[in-house]
């Protein structure tokens, strides 16, 4: 599933977090600016030759031919598509209605394709590499975002996602090395993340310390602890402590043989399959189960939950610990799922980007996962464009992930509503 498909699949749900539906000129204006940028690029920097999109490796069972398009003509055509979508959005807004939900993702896809076609003229874009790399970068973000969604839905701001990821990464590497079992390492990551989160929960729920402050302190604490542990133990004695076996890639039968989708989504490690399951489970639990209803009630109006006999504090501690467990699993991906060893500060701010994904996704698990995938995709887009030789300066390319974040939040999503009680301690009835 591509990010676009995922975004489209998010049927509107009546949980009060559907975002503002009011007709606003925000979306059409953002689209107009991007369309103009594309048109200017095509006009001022016309490209010669063709752009190829390689869709599969020659060894694939179902090999797709490489798609080749004339660069300039395709850029112009895609710009026209963007202009049409922009006009459609503008017309809807003028009629006093919100632009159709599929418009923004469709526009985004057209923009990315136009950018790729234009920038990679005369070269070949490895589509599987682009998407696969995007997923790889997204995995910790998605786990972190799920940890964030769970925690905030129950009313505790989880600033400590970064710490939970880092703890998961470090502990899983060590445990997997010592036991020789990467799967045991995974379990250890879950426990480590849950422990960090439990500290957050106990201090903020039991002792009413400001949630954000506890979160920040925890991040610093975990960074310091793992950094110290790394320099004093892991680095000097890497063979005994920091050389975990990487998780094997498992190709799913049939699904793994599909063109494009197969290698991107279904020839992955168990961590990635766990991610699919976690996203689905978080979604289903929050909106379809008794526990989910109670979690949302506690995060929105803890007094109301208390008066119907729900134990607000216990629920919060439990769910925050669970959120940390999820984020910890994401941390394991850094070590067991990709590089194979723990490095100092290796999460590099992924926890904060996950937090941004929670907000961009409007505290909805599926939308937050989509936002995390978007961030991963844009980061990797920048890598791939660098490799195929884009005419844009690399400094400009480095801005791309942040530019997309700003555009997505300000231009499309607009004002989102956090769970009402998120960030506030519950002291009980007066």
């Amino acid at each position: 599933m591509t990010p676009t498909q995922l975004l489209r699949s998010l049927a509107p749900r009546r949980d009060g977090h559907a975002g503002t539906a009011a007709a606003s000129w925000r979306t059409p204006v953002t689209m107009a600016v991007l369309t103009l940028a594309a048109a200017l690029a095509a006009a001022l920097g016309p490209r010669t030759g063709t752009t190829s999109f390689r869709l599969s490796k020659p060894t694939d069972v179902l090999a797709l031919p490489t798609a080749t398009v004339p660069a300039q003509a395709a850029t112009v055509a895609l710009t026209l598509v963007m202009a049409a979508l922009c006009t459609a959005a503008a017309l809807r807004v003028r009629a006093g209605r919100a632009p159709a939900r599929a418009l923004a993702p469709a526009f985004g896809t057209a923009f990315v394709l136009a950018l790729l076609t234009w920038a990679a003229a005369g070269a070949t874009v490895p589509v599987v590499g682009l998407l696969g790399g995007a997923l790889a970068l997204s995995i910790p973000l998605v786990f972190g975002a799920m940890g964030g969604v769970l925690s905030e839905r129950v009313g505790v701001v989880n600033v400590a996602i970064e710490g939970q990821l880092l703890a998961g990464a470090c502990v899983s590497a060590v445990v997997a090395t010592v036991t020789g079992q990467p799967l045991v390492g995974l379990v250890a990551a879950v426990v480590a993340g849950a422990l960090v989160a439990t500290v957050l929960a106990v201090f903020s729920v039991r002792y009413l310390v400001d949630q954000v402050i506890v979160g920040i302190v925890l991040n610093v604490l975990v960074t310091g602890l793992t950094g110290f542990f790394y320099s004093t133990a892991l680095a000097p004695d890497a063979a005994r402590l920091n050389a975990p076996a990487r998780l094997p890639q498992i190709a799913l039968p049939v699904l793994g043989d599909l063109p494009v989708v197969g290698p991107v989504l279904f020839r992955q490690t168990v961590v990635v399959y766990a991610m699919y399951v976690v996203v689905a489970v978080v979604w289903v639990v929050l909106f379809r189960t008794r526990q989910g209803l109670r979690i949302r009630a506690v995060g929105e109006h803890p007094e109301a939950a208390d008066t119907v006999g729900i134990d607000v504090r216990a629920t919060r501690v439990r769910v925050v610990a669970l959120a940390g467990a999820v984020a910890g699993l994401g941390g394991a991906y850094f070590t067991l799922g990709s590089v194979g060893g723990f490095g100092k500060d290796m999460t590099a701010g992924a926890g904060f980007i996950a937090l941004a994904a929670v907000i961009l996704g409007g505290w909805h698990p599926l939308r937050a996962a989509a936002a995390a995938l978007l961030f991963g995709f844009v980061s990797n887009l920048q890598n791939v464009l660098g490799i195929v030789g884009s005419p844009l300066p690399s400094e400009l390319m480095l801005m791309l992930p942040y530019l997309v974040t700003v555009l997505a939040v300000a231009g499309v999503v607009g004002k989102v509503r956090a769970p009402a009680a998120s960030g506030t301690a519950y002291e009980g009835a007066s």
């Binding site: 109006h301 109301a304 208390d306 006999g309």
Partner: protein, 505 residues
């Protein structure tokens, strides 16, 4: 089910909120618990509902002693409560709110919303409520939200139902409907505890009355007891319930509000093309159910909120978008509706709060320095004049009772020569004794020739003070009527009926 409270005592530190309270509520009866704010009614009910633990005493249901560790226990025992501030989650649907904590599930924990919806429909049909189980609670008017609360309690099979100040947020018509519902519930065998401080409602609906004062049972009364007698029981002395006031002698231009419109961030009109005039020496009452634009209107007049259209003029001064400081300088006194939030700094002393609006310069500040002696003298004099009950002017304001806090606000606002007084909910959460005092000061201000605007959601207050009454509904002024208008007509107008259609015209 018969509810019996025996010797319930609850202390908060040195304060005894409930002192050996006895109460018996029979099934099929509406038992009114009457008392002033702070008398201990809500504490008693929170003890009953398991939210607070009593220091002494017993709760018995049908003669069997109960022990509640939390609201869950109380609910399972058959006690339901409609809280003054609704305990509903606005982003959840009616059905979700009704079943929360007592959900129907299939299998390991899947929500069974179909059963939940059926439960909501069944109960609301029984009482003619017409609730949509799938509506988001936040989208519903307060009157309907209250029904959701009642359905929520009934869905848990409550046989003792406590209603804590349920009429505070309702129009008179909604109040009548609520009372009819209460009667139907009582007829069906439910024991009801109706907490209120409104004497009229007590007389209308109560089967038995227990009056609570200073945490003790001050007495029991029969339903036929006069309001004067009930007030005496409640306050502990004779009180005048109506303000003596000579007829108004309007003079001068006073305040003119023309086509005033205030919009929220999304462009919705909160105050919609309001035009009003208040002349010197008259009180304009603004009536309406809470949340119909009164707050925003007051904020626009006092400079706290910029209107998107229209003008505010005081005499020859244009105060539209003038800013708070300019509005203060023009001689506008403002008693805000929420004194703890907007009217006072709780951590500051009485003296400091008395000059909050005069921190810019003389007479209390000279060259950036507070003149303490001068301030203390002024504060002592104001505290005396306004009968603020306190041991010292250095007492933190948050330690005062609601009535005394409000007197501090009024004392401050009336300390300057005023050209306009805007008083929003001047007696909300204030004891009856202080109400009397505050009302008298407002009338005195009027008689001194100042235009006065009184915003109140209490019809009695508006009727008692106003020379003319403007009724607001959804940001608009439905009509401006003379002081003698009947409460029925006002009630209809508060629900949005234009004056021409109320049969009064």
């Amino acid at each position: 089910m018969k509810l019996e409270l025996r010797g319930i005592t609850k202390r908060f530190g040195t304060l005894v909120a409930n002192d050996a309270i006895d109460l018996v509520v029979e099934p099929g009866q509406i038992h009114c618990l009457l008392g002033e704010n702070g008398a201990g009614k809500s504490t008693l009910m929170n003890v009953l509902y398991g939210l607070l633990r009593a220091d002494a005493g017993q709760i018995l249901l049908d003669g069997a002693p109960q022990h509640f560790d939390g609201p869950g226990d109380a609910m399972r025992a058959g006690i339901g409560m409609v809280h003054q501030h609704f305990m509903l989650v606005p982003v959840l649907t009616v059905a979700e709110n009704v079943v929360l904590g007592d959900e129907d599930v299939r299998g390991p924990g899947w929500l069974d919303m179909r059963t939940a919806r059926r439960r909501v429909r069944e109960i609301s049909e029984r009482f003619g409520f017409d609730l949509d189980p799938d509506a988001l609670v936040g989208d519903l008017p307060v009157g309907v939200q209250q029904r959701v609360e009642i359905v929520k309690a009934l869905a848990r099979d409550a046989r003792v139902l406590v209603l804590d100040e349920p009429t505070a947020v309702l129009t008179p018509q909604e109040t009548d409907e609520l009372m009819a519902t209460m009667r139907r519930l009582a007829d069906a065998g439910t024991a009801l505890v109706f907490i209120t401080h409104k004497l009229r409602e007590v007389r209308e609906v109560a089967d038995r009355i227990t009056v609570i004062r200073h945490g003790r049972v001050a007495g029991a009364a029969e339903p036929g007891t006069t309001t004067r007698e009930l007030a005496r029981l409640m306050v502990g002395r004779d009180v005048t319930l109506t303000v003596d006031r000579p007829p108004a002698r309007p003079r001068g231009d006073g305040l003119r509000v023309d086509g005033l419109t205030v919009r929220d961030a999304s462009g919705r009109a909160l105050v919609d093309d309001v035009t009003l005039q208040v002349r010197g020496g008259e009180v304009l009452g603004i009536a309406g159910v809470q949340g119909n634009g009164q707050t925003e209107l007051v904020e626009a007049i006092t400079g706290l909120r910029a209107p998107s259209a229209g003008t505010v003029r005081l005499g020859d001064d244009d105060l539209t978008r003038a800013g708070v400081r300019a509005v203060l300088a023009a001689g506008v006194g403002h008693v805000p509706e929420d004194r703890t939030h907007d009217g006072l700094v709780g951590e500051f002393s009485i003296a400091e709060n008395l000059v909050l609006d005069r921190s810019f310069g003389p007479p209390f500040v000279r060259r950036g320095e507070v003149r303490r002696a001068h301030l203390a003298e002024f504060a002592r004099q104001r505290v005396d004049e306004f009968d603020v009950r306190t041991s010292s002017i250095r007492t933190q304001v948050r330690r005062l009772s609601g009535g005394n806090q409000q007197k501090v606000v009024i004392a401050r606002e009336l300390a300057r020569p005023l050209r306009l007084l805007v008083a929003a909910q001047p007696t909300r959460g204030v004891d009856v004794g202080s109400i009397e005092f505050i009302h008298r000061r407002i009338v005195e201000t009027r008689d001194a020739g100042t235009p006065v605007v009184v915003v109140s959601t209490e019809i009695d207050e508006v009727l008692g003070l106003a020379d003319r009454i403007a009724v607001m509904y959804r940001g608009r002024v439905v009509g401006v009527v003379p002081a003698g208008t009947s409460r029925e007509v006002l009630g209809l107008m508060m629900a949005g009926t234009p004056i021409e259609e109320t049969d009064a015209a």
